[in-house]
Amino acid sequence: MNRSFFAKNPSILWFIALLGLFTLGVTLLSEATGTGLISTSFVKTLGKTLCLCLVAIAMDVVWGYCGILSLGHFAFFGIGGYAIGMWLMYARTEVIVSASMANQVIPPSATEVSDAIASQIFGVVGASELPTIWSFAHSLPLQLLMVVLIPGLLALVFGWLAFRSRVTGVYLSILTQAMTLALSLYLFQNDSGLRGNNGLSGLQNIPGFESTPQSLVSMAFFWASALALAIGYILFAFVISGKMGSVIRAIRDNETRVRFLGYHVESYKLFVFTLTAIVAGIAGALYYPQAGIINPAEIAPIASIYLAVWVAIGGRGRLYGAVLGTVAVTLASSWFTGGGAPDINLGFYTIKWTDWWLVLLGLSFVAVTLFAPQGIGGLVDKLVRKKA
């Protein structure tokens, strides 16, 4: 990456500039560092939206550019969330347990502490031992490594098996969805070692920062999310530009032909699938501390389908399109389902948006597919071209 890379892709600089302005604006209006016009909970909503934008651009690269309609990228997102959640929960419980044991006459042994942590965390599922998968939960660096390693390895193995057998198109989508479903069903089990349908909670409390107000914690995560989105955007813009982008798009349009040019198509798909899975995991690791809780329902196949809907509405094959689609749909969603939109009384029937939002979303998806297949991004492109 050098100066000519940005010179050739001025839209990246535009995106970074807008993101920077937005971050600055939110900072100046927040409770912790500004006028307080924006509530802490809304800062969290915005921060979470940035994380969703990050996983959406990953989805756009794998689907919009490489033509792999993965219905599993939200699973990678969730895995990232679980990985960081394990440390958050463990470390925080450790603080609490140590505090309560501190007044004991005989100082507690290490095993006593660890047993107490285990029964504290796993009491809800009737267990009192720390499962093996929690072996690294005490260490932040190790769990951070898991955030990238687990989604990355899972994507690598799954992708290797699927691409090697030349599974493509709708069959591949079904396979990724099956993977997602299997993962979520597994996590729903009480003996999965991840607290079954209780999931991991209290993730908004960051160990070591107990006395820091949530308004400030939320700001820190908001910045981190913005930074991650900026870095992710530049990374993906680099991947899809130049010759790599050329090959990736060629694979989307006619992978057989690409093979006869001498490119090992499966390696390219595997590269894109794994890289985007890792970014999805990172996005999830930033999202769930802001959400405060993660449970298996988050990983359900429907979440990955939503991801595809955002990208489709925003316009496949353009990174900013994925961002636009995500922002538009998630903000509209929270407006409609959060009681922001007034109910419509038809006399004989009242349209309650909490019930009807999904119908509206479905209809918009159909409308976009039929009338604006290039999505919102495509409309923007048209406007820009007209002006120029």
Binding site: V239, M244, S246, F260, G262, V265, S267, Y268, F271
Partner: protein, 247 residues
């Protein structure tokens, strides 16, 4: 006679019991220009599918290159990297990308994902692209999306992409289909030129076109070689007249 570059011996393949290629043997040297003719369904495209690894034969051997390695265990992409380029019956270029991008992708360079990710454009490569565009008459179209090209230009772009791969063997399936006489003339020149330094196999129905290639002709019928020799030799063969010309 030039030394053998590719040799097929006793190759057979059947689809659901139907023998598309039947005990076929074939040799081509380097450099050499060869035309393959034969009625519809003779197995000409399947022959190319077998060489390029798209279809695995049930029987037979395919030996390649100076060391005589077998192509049978190699994947399509590995065979392409060995130096076998292929033009399809239906022109297949990447329509959403520019002519230059199409050529750049085909240009002979390392093919691994990381080689490509960190690939830096070289003035050498740019010059190669210019030269190929010149050869194929696409100089003015380099920045246009390939989808905007005329049918004939797409065929040329595909030939250009083949040249950019710098293959030792070029397999060209019906390059002149749907072309105007002037375009055919130009295509002939390109292929004859290309065959000066490498092996080129051209599948074509059009006798006039084959005649102008002025090279050895192999006649395929029902999956095996019916006759081989100069165009005058094969066109006077009674069997060839029977199955092909006498229709």
């Amino acid at each position: 006679m030039s030394k053998t570059l590719l040799e097929l011996s006793g190759v057979s393949v059947s689809f659901d019991g139907f023998k598309a290629i039947n005990n076929l043997s074939f040799q081509i040297g380097e450099p050499e220009l060869r035309a393959i003719i034969g009625p519809n369904g003779a197995g000409k495209t399947t022959f190319m599918d077998i060489i390029t690894g798209k279809t695995k034969p049930d029987d037979g051997h395919i030996l390649w290159g100076d060391k005589g390695i077998s192509l049978l265990g190699l994947s399509e992409s590995a065979i392409a990297r060995e130096g076998i380029g292929r033009k399809f019956q239906k022109p297949t270029v990447f329509e959403a990308q520019t002519v230059r991008e199409n050529l750049a992708m085909a240009l002979k360079n390392p093919r691994g994902p990381f080689d490509v990710l960190f690939y830096k454009k070289t003035s050498d490569g740019a010059a190669r692209i210019e030269a190929i565009a010149e050869q194929t008459g696409l100089t003015d179209s380099l920045t246009r999306p390939a989808g905007e090209l005329s049918h004939g230009q797409k065929q040329w772009l595909e030939i250009g992409m083949l040249l950019a791969q710098e293959p030792r063997l070029l397999l060209v399936d019906e390059p002149a289909a749907g072309m105007t006489p002037a375009e055919r003339e130009k295509t002939t020149q390109m292929l004859v030129e290309a065959a000066k330094t490498r092996a080129v196999v051209v599948v074509e129905h059009d006798m006039e076109f084959v005649r102008r290639l002025n090279c050895k002709v192999t006649v395929l019928n029902e999956g095996s070689v019916l006759a081989e020799g100069s165009i005058d030799h094969v066109t006077s063969d009674p069997q060839v007249i029977e199955v092909y010309l006498g229709r």
